[in-house]
């Protein structure tokens, strides 16, 4: 993956830059020794690494503003970083950039149950947002699988999703307002505890902009009352087509499960070997979860099971207790770990129209043979967000490149059938060069024009999202 050549003029400014940063931040918040900047050399896309020029850890909006004003003045690129869990390289630095980490900003600022929102500093982790409102039986809905570690700042930057989006939506549907610092250090409040402002939906524009429009320091998030209960059911089928039909039939019947998860045979076998959840050895496995009171769950599951039976399942397992529910989820939740046990893997997250599921799975199977690389599929079937996991050996020369080529082919297939390159991980550097497969030049130009408005000098996370060739004129300007 190509990154822009570091600007020697910027590299030469390091001593003065560090000196200025130390005037506005405590000493331990400015990391500039080479041995220490290495801690920020990559995010969860570990195949690509580069230590930044400097890393800073501001503690509040004012400090973020001071840092950005200085970097703006020095003409130094800034790469914002949440917890560094991006699978797309969203927080990958360049050698001439300042990493701005929000990890020291993790306070809860306000909890308002009557108006059903919480305001937090953006470095707070996703799960600890729910943790802060648990005592009143509330929760924060978006639940990316990295939720133990990932920060709200990163969630907003990538518009993160999770397993329960079918019912609760993704980050943008649960974000009420932000405090954001622009690249020149100006602080702006967007949205708030009220709904739907009268002007342009800048909140919606910022969510998912991958840290390229501003640095979000505080966020007001919608919190919801927890449902009375939830219960999953597991079903196994002998073909992907049939499982896909079951998903479609459930949705058409008017039931709205909170989650519909899908695993294919390679993935089932891997997780069985790893976690021993007792899954059937079949072509396609579905986990469907519904919520409500016991009686409501019975009513919904009754309908779901009726549909499931019509399609001749090889296995149908209802949960009768919390332990059984946990066991049904065990394999799904260990799927990534299980695949990682076998080999290195690359996780994709293209989305497809649900009706294309069987075709896409068949094509991925064929491509897997052509490339000679195994692939397991585990994904959110209700919303079409796929997660093919391609296995490769990082120590084998050429395997990573082969894996990336295979991944790119899968993503192009997603676009071809009417879907998109990324459903919840973001573009980052990983899918940057595939953007031309989804967008025409004008479609990309208008997006880059939006960045021109917020960050005219293209200093914020400049080498991400857009193909380098497409953004080169703007980055140099």
């Amino acid at each position: 993956m190509e990154m822009p050549t570091p600007d020697p003029k910027v590299l030469a400014k390091k001593p003065q830059l560090v000196e200025r940063l130390l005037q506005v931040l405590p000493e331990d918040a400015v990391i500039h020794e080479e041995a220490e900047t290495r801690a920020y050399e990559c995010d969860a896309l570990t195949a690509y690494r580069c230590p930044p020029l400097v890393a800073v850890l501001p503690a509040n909006t004012q400090e973020v503003s001071d840092v950005l004003r200085i970097c703006h003045e020095f003409d130094v690129p800034v790469v914002p970083r949440g917890s560094g869990t991006s699978l797309a390289g969203g927080a990958l630095p360049t050698a001439d950039s300042v990493i701005l980490g929000v990890s020291r900003m993790s306070e809860v600022l306000e909890v308002d149950y009557d108006n059903r929102f919480i305001r937090v500093q953006s470095g707070r982790t996703n799960l600890s947002v729910s943790g802060a409102v648990e005592e009143q039986d509330f929760f924060y809905a978006p639940d990316p699988s990295s939720q133990l570690a990932c920060a709200i700042a990163g969630n907003v930057a990538m518009n993160s999703g999770g397993a329960h989006c079918l019912k609760y939506g993704v980050t943008t549907n649960n974000l009420l307002g932000v405090t954001m610092v622009m690249m020149d250090g100006e602080v702006v409040e967007i949205g708030g505890a009220h709904l739907d402002s009268g002007g342009y939906d800048l909140l919606g524009l910022i969510c998912g902009s991958e840290g390229q429009l501003g640095v979000v320091t505080e966020a007001a998030l919608r919190i919801l009352r927890k449902p009375e209960g939830a219960r999953p059911v597991l079903m196994g089928y002998d073909s992907n087509e049939v499982a896909g039909q079951v998903v479609s039939d459930i949705i058409k019947a008017g039931v709205l499960p909170v989650a519909i998860e899908f695993m294919d045979r390679p993935c089932i076998r891997a997780t069985e070997a790893f976690a021993g959840a007792g899954y059937p050895d079949c072509e396609a496995l579905l986990i469907v979860e519904v919520e409500g009171s016991d009686a409501e769950i019975d009513e919904q599951l009754g309908l779901i099971l009726q549909i499931a039976r019509k399609h001749n399942p090889v296995e149908l397992r209802e949960s009768g207790s919390a332990e059984e529910s946990a066991k049904i989820w065990l394999g799904r939740k260990s799927a990534f770990g299980a695949m990682g046990q076998i080999n290195d893997y690359m996780c994709l997250d293209g989305t497809i129209p649900v009706s294309q599921l069987p075709y896409v799975l068949r094509r991925i199977g064929e491509m897997s043979k052509d490339y000679g690389l195994d692939v397991g599929n585990v994904f959110h079937a209700g919303d079409g967000n796929m997660h093919p996991l391609i296995l490769f050996d990082a120590n084998k020369p050429g395997d990573l490149e082969k894996c990336e080529a295979f991944g790119a082919d899968i993503l192009r297939l997603c676009v071809e059938v009417g879907g998109c390159l990324t459903g919840e991980h973001g573009v980052g550097i990983e899918k940057r060069d595939l953007m031309v497969d989804q967008f025409a030049p004008d479609d990309l130009d208008i997006q880059m024009a939006v960045k021109d408005v917020f960050d005219p000098a293209w200093l914020l996370n400049p080498a991400k999202v857009f193909p380098l060739a497409a953004s080169s004129g703007r980055r140099a300007a």
């Binding site: 009557d114 739907d196 402002s197 009352r225 008017g254 479609d443």
Partner: protein, 370 residues
């Protein structure tokens, strides 16, 4: 001008020499009056793709809302955000279009629970001020590929581009719905009851206060609705007698009345709309009455206020923490008073910056949003 294809629209805009007044069905003339040649999307009509099993629908911008709703109803589905029909309130004629709903980000009572129009909008195609045909988003529910211009286009009222196609996530129409009705003396008591309901786990999908009564809606499968209605009534026993309405037509009528602000249709006066933090609703209602408001309706659990006001009165309270919009008034009043809440200087600068990029010649609904 009523182009019949996207290409024709693109050529019209590229060749336009003066300002254009962009309309769908022209049933929601909200905003500063625009002087310009009228450009209608009404002839860009028809449902392009509807997959009930995937909960997605794609339609051309000029498709009548009624046509979309009929197609969805035939499959037992609906637009979850319950878009308001502005015709009664604004005294307009014509056929509301789905593109108009998007352009004004129109949502109804269910917004409090399900989300707004923008939350269900998955993709757009539009023509910008230079005549370029552009797309963003798509027809899948999860999509973070590039910037989310879909949200930006929702509610931009034709000032950033002319919508040609929109795609939505839709949801199943619940089998059953009931409404609980309580008598509330004032807005303070009403918001307290609505807050208690919205804090409960019983999934209230509508919470409004209209004509001295507080309405709470529950939807879903029949048994589930019956269970939750009973549980919610018990939960609210401290707020007095609870009346339950469960006849489908009656429930639908109660919420149409709230959605379309029916009590103000034939009443004389300007109509203002406010979006605030729900707990600020009662104080705002009181302040509006002191300023001469003739009636106030609350929706969204207290977060949305509709105010019937004397003609020409400036009903923007000092230091309002939220948004006031002048929805119905004479052209003269709309030209005189800010129609939308004036925004912070930096937001105004960004908004103008976006307009300069999307419509460098300033010909799309110029001045409508500032």
């Amino acid at each position: 001008m009523t182009p019949e294809t996207e290409e024709e629209l693109s050529a019209l805009i590229a060749g336009a020499e003066g300002p254009l007044r962009i309309v769908g069905g022209d049933t929601r003339p909200v905003g500063k009056p625009v002087a310009g040649e009228t450009l209608s999307t009404a002839a860009l009509s028809g449902i392009v793709n509807y997959e009930p099993g995937a909960l997605t629908l794609v339609a051309k911008a000029g498709t009548p809302v009624a046509e979309v709703e009929r197609a969805l109803a035939a499959e037992g589905q609906r637009l979850p955000f319950e878009p308001m029909d502005h015709r009664g309130l604004l005294g307009t004629q014509g056929e509301p279009t789905i593109g108009g709903v998007v352009a004004a980000n129109v949502s109804g009572p269910r917004r409090i629970q399900a989300g707004a129009c923008r939350d269900f909008l998955l993709g757009v195609r539009f023509v910008d001020g230079m005549g370029r045909v552009l797309k963003n988003g798509g027809r899948v529910m999860k999509n973070v590929t590039g910037y989310d211009l879909v949200k930006l286009m929702a509610g931009s009222r034709g000032t950033l581009g002319v919508l040609t196609e929109v795609s939505f996530k839709v949801l199943p129409e619940p089998a059953s719905a009931v409404t609980l009705i309580l008598n509330s003396n004032d807005e303070l008591q009403a918001v307290a009851a609505m807050t208690a309901a919205l804090r409960s786990p019983f999934e209230v999908t509508g919470a409004a206060h209209i004509g001295g009564k507080t309405r709470l809606r529950i939807e879903g499968f029949a048994e589930s609705v019956a269970y939750r209605a009973k549980a919610l009534a018990d939960h609210l026993s401290g707020f007095g007698q609870v009346e339950v309405v469960d006849a489908p037509d009656a429930v639908a009528a109660l919420w149409r009345e709230v959605r379309d602000v029916e009590p103000f249709h034939l009443a004389d006066g300007d109509v203002w709309r406010y979006s605030v933090k729900p707990s600020d609703g009662p104080a705002l209602a009181l302040g509006l009455r002191e300023k001469g408001a003739r009636d106030v309706i609350l929706d969204w659990g207290g977060g949305l206020l509709w105010c019937l006001a004397p003609n020409g009165a400036d009903m923007r309270p000092e230091g309002l923490n939220g948004h006031a919009t002048l929805v119905r008034a004479s052209e003269e009043t709309r030209a005189k008073l800010p129609v939308f809440q004036p925004e912070a200087a930096l937001i105004q600068k960004v908004s103008q910056g976006l307009r300069d990029k999307f419509d460098p010649r300033g010909i799309l609904n110029p001045g409508l949003m500032g």
